[in-house]
Amino acid sequence: MTVAPPDTSTKYDLDFAKWVYENIEGGDKLALCMQCGVCSGSCPIGVQMDYGPRKLFMMIRAGMKEEVMTSSTQWNCTSCYRCVVRCPRSVPVTYILQDLAAKSAELGYAQKTNENVNFARSFWWSAKTFGRTDERLVTALYYFSFGLKEGYQRGLANLKIALNFVKRGRMHIGLPHRIKGRRQLKAILAKAEEIAKREGLH
């Protein structure tokens, strides 16, 4: 086996691991990881992640901030919790990935590389506006988040599927579904935001 020589172009942020331990939910447990590979091996979509949790955790320790914050790993995690159940060191892998995703979006890293960020944003816009997700609006918002031209192309490519959905009553036409207590929802979300700020969760 040959091991690649160290890549000297990589920038290492030696405070990054500490930042993760202190600021990411479950991050304090990361020091327990023994690099066994069970999480990445158990992940049903592990092959669709650039690094997978195990390697991502090693990169955190190494201080590879840029690569970690722009990784697809945290965005492709489906929260199935298989890794959490199996991790021999009780590392809360899923929680760490979820919060890494949130923080990488918040700090402006994720947008550069991750389509899933755009989807999450569209989804959340619909959920907080109507109290429901409207497939058409979520999809449209998501497609056009890549720009006018690409949004148009993506829409066209999927038009047939959409029409079939409509035909079978799987997608409704007309105004978006919405909940009655939208004002209360808004108040709840505002309160949550306030608590999060107070507790230093942002």
């Binding site: 086996m1 590979g37 069970v38 990445s40 092959v47 390697k55």
Partner: protein, 429 residues
């Protein structure tokens, strides 16, 4: 201070050793050879414990029987050492220098007139799972524990008596050794010190549900691998696939199967890396074209045993794969398939094998078995350690009962326990 009740027995300088494995045998002999009276209790029908079921010992790959044989000679020569098989303690009362131990003796249905002629075994058609081979094959319900058993005496499984075979078995024995009417008995012993050497059991592989132990005969654990490699095992020492009897030429050994895992045994069992290195050697000795893959987190070949690791490592047909497999499934062709991530190069794999061996760890017997409630403290994992406050109250632990040890370390700890017990009974007078 009292144990399990206030009753103190009469003063005694006798030392009781509980558990007749390599640690218990050593402790009993060392104490007896200093001139003390010693009673050695063993719950099973013969001495030796788990090591009698190992095919060979690492690192020299020598046979456990020769070391045991020397000890058996020492036992036979020593009039101060009394061995009681089929016996287990059920209560301990009193204090250092004056313990009363209640002992239950299970019926063996064969007395000391037995010459090991084997006629009783022929007299019954009832067969039971062979405990010596971890149930991988069956034996007659009247059986000799194994060919080097000490004492060299048959034992009859209660199943035969329940089936009404007693009279037939009795008639078959020309020496009057079969006693179908033997009952369970209870008696008390007065002793001055106790050494607890109750050893271990393999961690139950059925609890590792992701490794599909119960779903394929070709997924076995490491103690079963020892039996497959032993000349008196179920395959006469040939390493064959249990499913179809074909040679196992592509073998995976999985380290830390249940050990170093918060969901199972949180500690390192310390001997299973070396056990698997030994298993790689067993396979490679038998088949020139075999491939052995060792899946590991990190190899822990402690102190002097590193040399054995380097020796196995130098075999190009033994591959070390740094990965804890995520799960095992039974493939379409019936072979077990390992899934996981190789952590050196992040390759996700699905690898089929003829035979998969789970290197299950050692769990202390005392976890579910009886142990004196006071005095010896159990650590977080159930190993018995000296109580901080009462380090010298006449009860000591030895061998794997005290921690995950190999044979030489078990013998060392047993010798130390014997010395402490001798000091305890002397100071008590």
């Amino acid at each position: 201070m009292t144990l399990d009740g206030p009753k103190a027995g009469p003063k005694s300088q006798t030392i009781l050793v509980v558990g007749g494995g390599i640690a218990g045998i050593t402790a009993a002999l060392e104490a007896a050879e200093t001139g003390h009276e010693v009673v050695l209790l063993e719950q099973g029908p013969s001495l030796g414990g788990r090591v009698t079921r190992l095919a060979r010992y690492f690192p020299k790959l020598c046979h456990p029987t020769c070391g045991l044989e020397i000890n058996y000679q020492r036992i036979k020569k020593n009039p101060r050492l009394k061995v009681m098989t089929m016996c287990e303690p059920t209560a301990v009362a009193g204090r250092k220098g004056a313990f009363t131990v209640t002992i239950r003796r299970h019926p063996r249905y064969v007395n000391d007139k037995c010459t090991a002629c084997g006629e009783c075994a022929k007299a019954t058609a009832i067969r039971v799972p062979n405990p010596y081979n971890y149930g991988l094959d069956k034996v007659s319900a009247a059986y000799l524990p194994h060919e080097h058993a000490m004492p060299m005496r048959y034992v009859i499984d209660p199943a035969a008596m329940r089936a009404g075979e007693g009279a037939k078995l009795k008639a078959a024995c020309a020496y009057g050794a079969v006693d179908p009417d033997e009952k369970e008995t209870t008696f008390e012993l007065s002793v001055g010190a106790i050494i607890w050497a109750t050893g271990w059991r393999p961690y139950d592989p059925n609890k590792l549900d992701v490794y599909s132990y119960g779903h394929s005969a070709d997924i076995i654990n490491n103690v079963e691998m020892e039996r497959l490699a032993a000349h008196d095992g179920p395959t006469q020492g040939k390493i064959l696939r249990p499913s179809n009897g074909e040679p196992a030429k592509r073998v995976a050994l999985i380290q830390c199967a249940g050990s170093r895992d918060n969901n199972h045994l949180p500690y390192c069992s310390r001997i299973c890396c070396l056990g698997s290195l030994k298993h790689a050697a067993y396979v490679r000795e038998q088949y020139a074209d075999a491939e052995v893959h060792i899946y590991y987190i990190d190899i822990r070949a402690h102190d002097k045993l590193e040399a054995f690791y380097n020796k196995v490592r130098s075999d190009p047909q033994v591959r070390f794969i740094k990965s804890k497999p995520a799960h095992i499934r039974v493939g379409d062709d019936g072979r077990p398939v390992l899934f996981g991530e190789r952590t050196i190069d992040r390759q996700i794999y699905a690898e089929p094998y003829d035979l998969v061996v789970l290197a299950t760890g050692m769990e202390p017997s005392a976890v579910e078995g009886y142990r004196p409630a006071v005095s010896l403290a159990a650590d977080d994992y159930g190993f018995l350690v000296a109580n901080e406050q009462d380090g010298d109250d006449g009860i000591f632990s030895a061998g794997v009962a005290s921690g995950p040890l190999d044979v030489s370390m078990s013998v060392q700890s047993a010798t130390a326990a014997a010395l402490k017990a001798v000091q305890a009974v002397r100071s008590g007078m």
